[in-house]
């Protein structure tokens, strides 16, 4: 079977983002960009399933501007066999991405689509579930383990308070949580190999999808800063403050 892994180019995890002075968004020019960490886990999971003999091909797909190709190359260096780039410069919101991915799924016919549980830029955490609903496929979000059986995926999910195990009939959608795997270190030979792997480019129009933004962002501001408090010298002083000043214990 084919597995599709969806990846997104985002502001790197270690960048301290700054809100633009005109309140139109956050500064993304001249900022380090990387693959969304949860998507790296998705590509790694897909690659391991292929290495374990459960998949014939891993297709990495991304939606976004020309630079998103770099993110696809990273996915190919981890182990995806080929890439699909749905090229668009419009501001993509989760519902539009899910519609584009649905069209890609209908073309490629994967049996399993693995996505990150959330992107660390918009923190929406929706795309996998939206895609599952649009395709009318079963879903297992926040996965920490995936086992493939005969026409099934048995997925352990991270839920409030512990874990839950679901069995899904394929085709299905899985979104990744942190502990599913630790993505491999991408080696130079694999980066070189990735450069030779094929990437197809499609447009939203090719797929018959209107990807325009529906939610209107009125403004983006910095959150109210929390004032830095004082220091205490020892445990006795701390207890005194908590009891008599803050009155929380």
């Amino acid at each position: 079977m084919k597995i599709m892994a969806a990846v997104k180019r985002v502001v790197d995890y270690n960048v301290n983002v700054r809100v633009k002075a005109d309140q139109s968004g956050v500064e993304t020019s001249n900022v380090k960009m990387s693959m969304n960490p949860f998507d790296e886990i998705a590509v790694e999971a897909a690659t391991r399933l292929k290495e374990g003999g459960h998949a014939s091909e891993v297709i990495a797909v991304t939606c976004g501007p020309a630079q998103s190709t770099e993110t696809l190359r990273t996915a190919l260096a981890i182990g995806a066999d080929r890439g699909v780039h749905i090229l668009t410069d419009v501001e993509l919101q989760p519902l539009a991405v899910a519609k584009l991915l649905k069209a890609a799924v209908e073309r490629e016919q994967p049996q399993l689509v693995i996505l990150g549980k959330q992107a660390i830029d918009d923190d929406a955490g929706q795309t996998g579930q939206l895609l599952a609903a649009l395709l009318d496929w079963p879903q297992a979000t926040f996965a920490s383990n995936i086992r493939i059986g005969a026409n099934t995926a048995t997925v352990t999910r991270e839920v409030d308070g512990g874990l839950e195990v679901l069995e899904l009939t394929l085709p299905a959608i899985v979104t990744t949580d942190l502990r599913l795997n630790e993505p491999r270190y991408v080696t130079l030979p694999n980066i070189m190999k990735a450069k030779k792997k094929p990437i197809e480019t499609w447009s939203p129009a090719d797929l018959g999808v209107d990807a325009s933004a529906r939610l209107k962002t009125l403004k983006v501001v910095e959150p109210a800063a929390r004032k830095a408090g004082g220091r205490v010298n020892d445990v006795a002083a701390l207890i005194d403050k908590l009891k008599n000043e803050a009155k929380v214990i």
Binding site: V19, Q129, G161, V235, I239
Partner: protein
Amino acid sequence: MTTLVIADHEGARLKAATLNTISAARQLNNGVHVLVAGHDARGAADAARIIEGVDRVVLVDAPHLADGLAENIAAQVLMLATSYTHVLFPATAAGKNVAPRVAANLDASQISDVIAIHDADTFDRPIYAGNAIATVRCDDAIKVLTIRTTAFDAAPSASAPAPVDTKAAVAGTQRARFVRREVPVSERPELTSARIVVSGGRGMGSAENFALLDSLAQKLGAAVGASRAAVDSGFAPNDWQVGQTGKIVAPQLYVAVGISGAIQHLAGMKDSKVIVAVNKDAEAPIFSVADYGLVGDLFEAIPQLTQAL
């Protein structure tokens, strides 16, 4: 103009997050209905009907709703959703799992982690781990929101109970099956609704050392949390994780022990009423949000603190 709140519950019991979501719903100045979809969920429905601001409880009780499968709960919500202007879920693991499925079927743009409601169409939500707050307007006929529970107070009890309507369930899916749940029984309160949270970071050094926090938490009646660094190092289970990619908490008192204070961690706890930081590194960023900072060795300070309480 009526809002439907989807209850997060455990059958007999309503989860605290539902009360915060009801508070958010009341700010829309609409009627508020609460859907309890589950099995043997009469207890949760009875709890929901005595919450202030709830005008009606809709109870759908069926065996295939027992385990909260997203496919089945979403189908149930969709059966009702077109009678409402807003559908609100708490931004819990359960709510986040189901809400987008509902939105997609309504061709609506779901809005995640709402922290403020300006009017019926305009909402604030955090982006970039809470380093920016976006104000967004939604023109969809039915708005589907998840509510960040720490941003809204829990709704109080009502004087008069609301009526409970029982509705028949729609058919469930055969393509997703619940296998089992592994939820360790804990004497500690639930992390997201605890009054006090004691969290450990990489500075704890090992899983065994987390026992220090357990003793302190026991004394304080607190829940135990962890930073992502501590979870990644295998010191603590993932469902203890506080931060951008874990749980969002806002207790009365948050005690950060051996946590440096990466922005991703601050995203999960900076709305706590009082923050205490214990760290041997005087330059650690956690001190910039702490009300009371103690620079010192946690392996001395925490046992002393536990002893003295």
